[in-house]
């Protein structure tokens, strides 16, 4: 690929240190990072912030699952002539003394109140603070310019600003948690979000947090679009870009077009809550379903903001670790754009039970369109794997898990998109399982796979492959145990967001809870692997996997200005059959044998 012109080689080369080189003492280094406009540092800061939020959200999720270990039972006893009512099976009730404002009231015990807050907290953190920014803001920030052969993103200062907005927004959310949390669910549906906790500011805080985080998302997207348009290395046409870049581009378009709508939605919601303007309040002639339209106009496209970057990562992992040219490059690129386009046409499928039937019919029909580009992608990945020389290392294992789980997640979307079946499945555990299969089994799995794929490049250190594989396998088992059971629960009628359930569901709930522990252990192992690698990892070579895209040209970790010389691109990112990857030994990464007459690779 991109062959580097050595024109001024030697004059400049090897003077510049890695971007990780400390600047002076500890304080100076911290100041340097806090004010950096280097996309790599901002990407790394995002990565750690997102990991931290993922940890917080994960703790809340474990709490939710713990609460569901046993159904709540009301126990009425007569103690010394007085009737005393108490509850059993409420693990979270033990937290009541430390959570403000969750006293029992109106038949809802404090434990249930905490449960409501725990799942809302989990959902809000995971969507707005983890999955939406996850890949674009961390890996995207780091690798988009590298893959394009650029020195930085188009607007580096805006990039730093977006990071600070992210932190600022997250602080609001965390403040709301410290004040006692909210029980609105991540969707902030009215009237939950306009009526509950009327004597507290925390709902406003959380809504504000989501509002602020939207700006960070917009700025990232805006930056990426301009970068892709303006900063491609010479020789890199649109169809010479790595598909990860295409994915970032499509994601950025959705971010720019959809996020403002959540901005105005949340603003109107705050007006509704604080000033009671009445537009979402049926008592005053307003309409809660209007809120749902507003919300999902953003939030359906945003699920593609979550998944398209994951597609991008898988597009990189599979050809590199299978050492095979990607099957159907153009189809992939167009499918990515197609998904982005269709994502704006289907939001009504979240409101089949609330909206008019005419709209529901239209939205149902349109939703099935999503399956087409998605299926093209899955087909192409499998075709790429076919006859490849697959290395079963952690990134590849994650990519394979992704294929398995995302396919399940996508296919279960179809019964949800069917009007008749959705009437039964809506707001049940089936929906919960569906979106966890796509968001966790899809996005998070691809994200973790991508972190492993690029870890040596980002930090210049190798990680412990064996332990990483152990973590990967545990995550796979834990995830499926946690969420496959929920498909069954959902079809049997277990509604989502309930703290208790009939006794006959207990076995499946307990399996699910056990799965969540395995999942937790798997992620902790990954954390250990990362820390170990940073502290004691072996030095990584420039190109440990034999990748062909531009980021593998530069050093590991990259130098401050990314490349010693601006690269000029001469071949595509997946030409494994014709190009020896940079910095690699042909003995270690041999090119495929020439085809015998009549033989085909696909």
């Amino acid at each position: 690929m991109s062959t580097i012109d050595t024109h001024n080689a030697g004059q400049h080369a090897h003077h510049e240190g890695s971007y990780l080189t400390p600047h002076g003492g500890a304080l100076a280094t911290i100041w340097n990072w806090a004010t950096t406009i280097d996309h790599k540092k901002i990407g790394v800061m995002y990565l750690f912030a997102i990991m931290f939020m993922f940890f917080l959200g994960g703790v809340a999720a474990l709490g939710v699952r713990a609460e569901l270990w046993e159904p709540t039972r009301v126990v009425t006893e007569v103690v010394e002539g007085e009737t005393v009512t108490s509850y059993t099976g409420q693990v979270l009730v033990n937290l009541a003394p430390i959570v403000p404002g969750v006293e029992s009231e109106g038949g809802i015990s404090a434990g249930m109140n905490i449960y409501n807050r725990a799942f809302s907290l989990h959902g809000i953190i995971m969507t707005f603070m983890v999955i939406v920014p996850s890949v674009p803001a961390s890996l995207g920030n780091f690798f988009l310019p590298l893959m394009l052969g650029a020195k930085d993103v188009a607007f580096p200062r805006l990039n730093l600003m977006s990071w600070y907005i992210y932190v600022f927004g997250s602080i609001f959310a965390v403040a709301a948690v410290v004040m006692g949390g909210v029980d609105t669910g991540w969707t902030f549906y009215t009237p939950y979000s306009t009526m509950t906790d009327a004597d507290h500011l925390r709902v406003v805080f959380v809504i504000l947090a989501a509002f602020i985080l939207g700006f960070s998302s917009i700025l990232t997207g805006l930056n990426f679009i301009v970068t892709v348009h303006k900063l491609r290395a010479p020789g890199m046409g649109w169809f010479d870009m790595p598909l990860f870049v295409w994915a970032m581009y499509a994601t950025a378009i959705i971010q720019v077009l959809a996020t403002p709508v959540i901005g105005i939605t949340l603003l109107l919601l705050i007006f509704e809550r604080v000033f009671h303007v009445g537009i979402f309040d049926p008592r005053m002639g307003g309409d809660p379903v209007l809120y749902q339209h507003f919300f999902w106009f953003y939030s359906h496209p945003v699920v593609y903001v979550m998944i398209i970057p994951a597609f991008g990562i898988i597009n990189e992992i599979i050809p590199v670790h299978a050492r095979k040219k990607l099957f159907g490059y153009r189809a992939m690129a167009f499918a990515t754009l197609g998904i982005a386009a269709v994502s704006f046409l289907v939001w009504g499928h979240h409101m089949f039970t609330a909206s008019g039937e005419l709209a529901a019919m239209i939205f149902s029909a349109l939703t099935f369109l999503v399956a087409i580009p998605t299926a093209i992608k899955v087909f192409n990945w499998v075709a790429t794997l076919y006859k490849g020389s697959i290395a079963f290392n952690t990134p590849m294992l994650y990519a394979l898990s992704f294929l398995f789980m995302f396919t399940i997640g996508g296919l279960t979307g179809l019964p949800l998109a069917t009007l008749a079946t959705d009437l039964h499945l809506h707001d049940s555990y089936f929906v919960v399982a569906h979106f966890h299969y796509v968001m966790m089994g899809g996005t998070i799995i691809a994200f973790v796979g991508g972190i492993h794929h690029w870890w040596p490049k980002m930090f210049g250190k190798l990680y412990n492959e064996r332990w990483a594989i152990v973590g990967c396998v545990l995550v796979f088992i834990g995830f499926n145990l946690t969420f496959f059971t929920q498909f069954i629960l959902g079809t049997r009628g277990m509604p989502r967001r309930y703290a208790s359930y009939p006794d006959e569901f207990q076995f499946l709930h307990q399996l699910s809870t056990i799965g969540s522990w395995i999942l937790g252990i798997g992620f902790l192992i990954h954390l250990g692997v990362f820390v170990h690698s940073l502290v004691a990892g072996r030095k990584a070579p420039e190109n440990p996997w034999g990748g062909l895209s531009l980021e593998w040209e530069t050093e590991s970790p990259p130098i401050e200005h990314n490349f010693h010389h601006e690269p000029i691109v001469k071949h595509g990112p997946y030409d494994f059959d014709t190009v020896q990857p940079p910095h690699t030994d042909p003995a270690e990464f041999p090119m495929p044998e020439p085809l015998r007459p009549g033989e085909r690779t696909h």
């Binding site: 004597d199 010479p234 959809a258 049926p282 008592r283 039937e357 001469k570 071949h571």
Partner: protein, 258 residues
Amino acid sequence: MADQQHQGPAGSPTSEKEKLGFDPHDPHGFHEGEEHGHHILSMRMLVVILALLLALTGLTVGSAQAEIIIAEELGISIPQWVNVTIAMTIATVKAILVVAFFMQLYYDTKLNTMILLFCLLTFGLFIGFTSIDMGNRDRIYSWKDGQHTPGGTGGLGLERGAFDSDRNPRRTTVTGPDGEDTGRTRRASEEVAGAITDYSADPDVARTRIDADVLERLERYQERRRAQRPAASPNRVTDLSSPRLFAPPDDEDGDGNN
């Protein structure tokens, strides 16, 4: 890239540029775009655009005033869509003038125009699909009224009762506070919506924790609403405990059957 021959400086520059995808003499584009993108509008042009904009503003205000005057003096009420169309057309023309010339989109790269068009397309999708739903609530109420025959026309407009003889949503006349005819009409669904409003205002049913001041205001608002409500029409449902809410409108005894 063993199989590719090194490209020498031979060949005409343009063909080479096309072949390589970049200019070999300026591969990094250092001098690209130096001469473009700085269109200078003439002062005359700017003034003409401003004059046009001001004239159009006058026109749109004038036509709106004209409508009122015609209605008041001559007693002819022009249909609303005429007024809406005129006002929105003029606004669109004004916006295009500002965007194309003041914002210089006309002289700018195509990409920026594309961005704007995508933005408007998204806007169109948003408003279009939302209106499809929000403007078709009648369909739901006809289901709930039991006027819809399962397996029939699927709520597409042939149900008895919800639609008048012209297959338009049935409308009832709105009477003023003193029972006089206002000449205005409202849709069947709006009546049902009104009834639901009463329902949720019942403090026992809709238990809210809004602070007392707001509650009081709400109550005053409800009172005002009740006071302004037209005199009872045979189809109006006020008591929600009665099965009449979901009964066909010409159900006399309120038992859910005709």
